[in-house]
């Protein structure tokens, strides 16, 4: 379909680059629903029993796999299809992501209707997971190309949408299920049909708006540097050559360790606050904290990545690791002095840096490997997220259980975990410190990155 071809998406003169962030948000606000999938867990365990789970109803442990499969396929599809996304253009990728994501919901609704769980594993987990991966990386390189002067801010806006998507999906899901649920029926299937259709339309608006800049386009008043600075290259590295550089793997570990530490405590924030402050924090207050932390997670994506445009990517990650180490180590102290305020403060900043780590990394890759294949390289890097998704929760859960089994009081069961997370961040700090400019033997020879033709662009 020519409508999807990269050539059809080249912006006409005068096109405003500020239309690209909303196009990217159309995608990320939809796929960010993944973070809110847990709102369906309980209703899915009562599809037959309605009021309470019947013997034939699905178990919570089986349902947990849906999200896990989706996150694994996010990483895999981003890694496998990154080059296709980069070379086929953002509209084709966004359209495919919309088909996979919406298709995942619609087929999952069939799975609910016939009550066959593996259909949901395949539909939401595999197909939807591929939609997640394609959608996540599809606007990244386009944003970087439109905003060479502020790449951190631009990608931060999109990736903030991924955090914000859960804020929309959670109340929307609850509201839709309320509309479709009766005394004899739980309306999950109908809700998923509605959400699939809404997300498809929303994502297609993004695909229709998105444009790539014409060759040689630069923002008005922007002068592209003619020479690489110490940590910002003007050259490009081919996607698979990036894998041969130590820089790629150092950034892989930087992301993996930052996410491992964050994701490990993300799922435990509610339980942790209640166990550390027994009698002070109720379950309702804990859910309020989690909502607040999610807001910091979302805002951190924009604020930290924007800050990175001014202080540099390496320094931003130094902040994450240095500040994070102190804050993780302070969490047990907050429990020992019974200071809920200190606990909330530490967690709020930790979550802002967790989100900030995701949002700043595309610009870090741009600085190291150039703009040409940054989307595809970012896709490969997202395997670090998949790995962290396994490391983090496993570390937190197993260490806590080990402590509880060995007689450590529940209020102190997380202390070792938090010190361990602080230790991981120290390793991340060292990895970040080791990052230097990519050796020029890895640079693409036939395609200079600097676009010197000063085509007049919009703003």
């Amino acid at each position: 379909m020519s409508f999807l071809a990269r050539e059809r998406t080249i912006a006409a003169p005068g096109y405003s680059r500020w239309l690209i962030p909303p196009a990217a948000l159309c995608i990320h606000l939809c796929i960010g629903q993944a973070y809110a999938f847990s709102v369906f867990n309980l209703p899915l365990t009562k599809l037959i029993g309605i009021g309470q789970s019947a013997p034939n109803d699905w178990k919570l442990t089986d349902l947990g796999w849906i999200f896990s499969i989706a996150i694994v396929f996010l990483g895999l599809s981003a890694a496998v299809f990154g080059r296709w996304v980069e070379e086929g253009g953002p509209r084709r990728a966004m359209f495919t992501a919309a088909l996979c994501w919406a298709g995942g919901f619609l087929i999952s609704a069939v799975g609910v209707y016939v009550h066959v769980l593996w259909i949901i594993y395949l539909a939401y987990g595999v197909l939807g997971g591929i939609g997640l991966g394609l959608g996540y990386i599809s606007p990244v390189s386009t944003l970087i190309k439109w905003f060479p002067d502020r790449p951190g801010m631009a990608t931060g806006m999109a990736i903030m949408g991924f955090g914000g998507g859960a804020f929309i999906a959670s109340p929307l899901s609850v509201w839709l299920m309320g509309k479709f649920t009766t005394a004899t029926h739980i309306g999950v299937a109908e809700t998923w049909i509605c959400m699939g259709l809404i997300y498809f339309v929303f994502m297609m608006v993004g695909a229709a708006i998105v444009r790539v800049p014409a060759d040689g386009w630069v923002p008005e008043g922007y002068v592209a540097p003619s020479q690489s600075s110490r940590l910002i290259t003007t050259n490009n590295v081919y996607v698979y050559d990036a894998l041969k550089t130590p820089q790629f793997w150092l950034i892989w570990w930087v992301l993996c360790l930052n996410v491992t530490a964050g994701i490990g405590v993300l799922g435990q924030a509610s339980a942790m606050s209640q166990e550390m402050f027994k009698g002070q924090v109720t379950a309702v207050a804990a859910s309020g904290f989690v909502g607040l932390f999610s807001l910091f997670n979302m805002m951190g994506r924009f604020l930290w990545s924007t800050t990175s445009d001014f202080i540099g990517r390496k320094n931003t990650y130094f902040c994450f690791f240095a500040l994070g180490t102190v804050l993780y180590a302070l969490v047990p102290y907050s429990g020992s002095i019974h200071s809920v305020a200190l606990f909330v403060f530490c967690y709020a900043v930790i979550f802002s840096m967790y989100g900030g780590g995701f949002a700043t990394v595309p610009a870090y890759l741009r600085d190291m490997f150039g703009t040409r294949y940054v989307g595809a390289i970012h896709g490969l890097l997202l395997t670090a997220w998949s790995a962290a998704g396994i490391f983090g929760p496993v570390l937190v859960n197993y260490i806590r259980q080990y402590n509880v089994d060995h007689g450590v009081p529940a209020a102190q069961a997380y202390n070792v975990t938090m010190y361990l997370m602080a230790g991981l961040l120290v390793i991340g700090f060292i990895c970040n410190a080791c990052i230097r400019a990519v050796n020029e033997r890895h640079h693409m020879k036939d395609e200079p990155a600097v676009q010197t033709a000063a085509a007049v662009g919009g703003n």
Partner: protein
């Protein structure tokens, strides 16, 4: 003419994504406030 056209497109595009995002953030904040009360 292009400037006006661009301005309208920008307004529509940002409103299209801004309204649901703001709605979601407000809902989350309201829930958080309720929890703290």
């Amino acid at each position: 003419m292009t400037g006006t056209n661009n301005g309208l497109k920008l307004f529509l595009a940002w409103t299209f994504v801004g309204i649901p995002l703001t709605w979601g953030v407000v809902q989350t904040l309201l829930n958080a406030i309720k929890a703290f009360q």
